[in-house]
Symmetry: none
Subunit: 219 residues, 2 copies
DNA sequence: CTCCCCACGTCAGTTTCCCGTCAGTGCCCA
DNA sequence: TGGGCACTGACGGGAAACTGACGTGGGGAG
């Protein structure tokens, strides 16, 4: 699979390029949006890794333009921790996934691997929990045979819960994952989302650990 | 990753424990070789940090015994500057790395990180005691095949009991661990929690040492 | 540009259940 | 045998969590 990396920080760019290349993919690395534009027109990439803060424009605009033009290619956003609002906007704009800097290169490998599997026509590995089957790469969930539609927030929470399979995730962690750094939430938003998720996924899909957080699975 | 720290100096031990814990690892800290022995038998550690000068024996002997038994777990030696011959002997005995006191805590983090990268991908280490299996990272307990739900307080107590595997923990220590400094308790709360824990985990999961405290295990 | 839809944050009323307390009983050792 | 120390069932207060309802704002369709 051929990957386009759009990143202007030399150190991070090099690290990512090496990592993805080590996984057996061809990586084209550009640092500016106009180069990215040209590359996207010339080559049929299987995946785009997009940094949102570039010297000559906002990465988000590139993504929006792509999607408006009907381009469905997978895009994974690389974003800094303090730019979570961008991340939300990115998901709205049609990104497939995001990684928060500084990210673990192995985590990157895993995401790239998921995309490449889809690219090769192979199904993605399914995470299952009780009656649920979760395809993280394709952002899809099934409850038994029935496919479930999740909203962005709902997916973000489920994504957190599946990241470390059996771990307990606190409400604070969920807030951090969902909201802009510093924008405090003073209501029970997370609880409400959990409630909505349970309505869709089944009452016992998510287990409450009172005073601590939530965990995937019922037992 | 779960780390065993074998170190008898309180100040250094505490500093190391905090540093490694801050890096996201679970740290068990023992000061004597017999405790280390017991801990190593009970828990599948991802890394051992070993001080060579301990009150009840030579750390090197522990390392040699481990390696002779075919144990391949990573061991990093902590040694003083004037004991370089020990260091050489340590490497001969099968240590993976060494740090010379006084060492920079960031240097420690780097070494630990290197080990944990190798370790990544493995399932969480399980602590076992009798029929119990305890996954501290996931905050879960099994009694045989059956998963057990623990409340916050119950988990806090079990956590204490497993922290120093064979040690007897007094009720006072448990109170201190459970409650904010200053908020005094004047009832038999700890006993009640122990009782509730035993109901869930099995009568002989926790042993009473009358007049002293509690200890994990039945014998 | 306008209208509609729906995702989401907020709130309030209700429910759940954790935990500290107490009291009665049992057990261990002098 | 008696005096503590420990165990455990019961209970009530209150914090934490759940959920139905509502308003709003942003995105998509026309």
């Amino acid at each position: 699979m051929r990957v386009l990396l759009i990143e202007d920080e030399p150190v991070l760019g090099q690290a990512v390029q090496e990592q993805v290349a080590a996984d057996g993919h061809a990586v084209d690395w550009v640092a500016r949006l106009d180069e990215a534009d040209a590359a996207l027109r010339a080559v049929d990439y299987g995946l785009v890794l997009l940094d949102l803060h570039l010297p000559d424009g906002r990465g988000l605009d590139l993504l929006k333009t792509l999607r408006r033009g009907g381009d469905q290619r997978p895009v994974i956003i690389l974003t800094a921790r303090d730019q979570i609002s961008d991340r939300i906007e990115g998901l709205n704009a049609g990104a497939d996934d995001y990684l928060v800097k500084p990210f673990d290169l192995n985590e990157l490998s895993a995401r790239v691997m998921a995309v490449s599997r889809r690219y090769a026509g192979n199904p993605n590995p399914l995470i299952s929990s009780g009656k649920l089957k979760i395809d993280k790469a394709a952002r899809r969930v099934w409850r038994g045979e029935e496919a479930i539609d999740l909203t962005k927030r709902e997916w973000a929470i489920l994504d957190l819960l599946t990241r470390r399979a059996t771990a307990v995730i606190s409400k604070e962690q969920m807030e951090e994952a969902l909201y802009d750094f510093g924008s405090e939430i003073e209501s029970n938003t997370v609880e409400v989302h959990i409630s909505r998720l349970r309505k869709k996924l089944g009452r016992d899909a998510i287990h409450t650990v009172r005073g601590v957080g939530y965990r995937l699975g019922s037992d």
